[in-house]
Symmetry: C2
Subunit: 205 residues, 2 copies
DNA sequence: CAGTCATATGGTAGTCACTGCCAGAATCTA
DNA sequence: TAGATTCTGGCAGTGACTACCATATGACTG
């Protein structure tokens, strides 16, 4: 790895860390990109080369966790669907658990600032579609495969999100992965009251 | 109703409609708020009094559908949970189906513009939390109620979103509500391959 | 080591979303 | 009609973000 990449990685980290400090100290809205750039001792234009928007400075860590998990799944094409889903869930949570303070700070900022919340939701949605794309390959090819994959990915993401929002409130006394297992059990045993419909439509999309 | 409210409603509609035209003709990014204000023959500051951000101009209709459904559910406290959930899903879809072009345009704009997509996801998330707040009242009060409600609301929202994304591609040949029933059936009959876990953790959050 | 090439950087100028403020117009009330 | 309330448009300003260019810096070649 050349010196160039080393430096690049270093400044990237530096910018993100300084940004995080300023956000936590002064709040997201009361921190300007100029301040962040000055704190990291780079020009504003350099900052924008690394991070396209102010919000990505907040969400980088979470994004990395999600991207990593779906990339990992992509490299395990032999993994069957239910096991793969569980593995992805556990993998994401494992990574998030490696830095509870950061995750908590991210969710705090999201709850205070609408644009951060919006970008977080956008991130989650992107992950969900990526996951669905990967799941559909593991389903028998029929006209419902995409539909089923989208639903399955949504449920997985739903579990992750719900679990994280609970866990992040008390990261020391709870354990995200066992919470996730509880959620899966609830789902599997009918512990979640969902409507049961007689599917009398013959429509086949 | 006084003349004031009539006028207010009229200008609100006017602004939203003109905005929609311009967005569809020129794209979201290539339309400025000044252009919208000029087209609606109001000052920019007036526009901002009606719509806090440019994105809300796009999402107003979808937001109304979602707000309406959750408001309706709030007024039916006697409705049991599974039936209530199904009713909410059908109600949202029914409203969306009343204006397929608008819904399609919203999703088109969202797929082209990141900030619109982000705000749409934010909107969906807000609806999901509102729905969860409403569902938790219909669950036996125990330490899992909130968790269960969040999961159920997430699944309902997941069904709505997935169904709409399929339906919106061919609103003439498909029917959102029967798609939703198919999704519920899939879920209920185990048609969606989800991980089954033996919950051996004794943690009780 | 010198030369040159590719890339990274910082600065400048500009656009545009959005905010706060104020004077005047329109509507409502008595 | 007089006065109180609310709506409106314009103006000035902030700050995120873009396009562009000159310069500097690490990377490669003879």
């Amino acid at each position: 790895m050349g010196l160039r990449e080393v430096k690049r990685e270093r400044t990237r980290r530096l910018i993100a860390d300084k940004a995080f400090e300023l956000f936590n100290d002064n709040g997201f809205g009361r921190t300007t990109v100029e301040q962040i750039a000055a704190a990291a001792e780079v020009g504003p234009s350099t900052l924008y080369r690394y991070f396209p928007t102010k919000e990505t400075l907040v969400l980088e860590f979470v994004e990395d966790c999600l991207v990593d998990a779906v990339t990992w799944l992509r490299e395990q094409p032999e993994l069957e669907l239910p096991a793969g889903l569980q593995a992805v869930i556990e993998r994401v949570l494992e990574q998030l658990e490696s830095n509870p303070d950061r995750v908590r700070a991210v969710f705090d900022l999201a709850s205070q600032t609408a644009s951060v919340s919006a970008h977080l939701n956008e991130l989650i949605w992107r992950f969900r579609t990526d996951l669905a794309d990967e799941l559909v390959l593991r389903l028998p090819a029929n006209n419902r495969a995409e539909f089923t994959a989208a639903l399955a990915a949504g449920i997985a993401m739903n579990i992750i999100e719900t679990v994280v929002r609970v866990w992040v409130e008390a990261p020391d006394t709870t354990d995200a992965r066992s919470l996730a297992r509880q959620a899966m059990t609830l789902l599997h045993t009918g512990g979640i009251p969902l409507p049961a419909v007689s599917d009398n439509s013959r429509y086949d999309y």
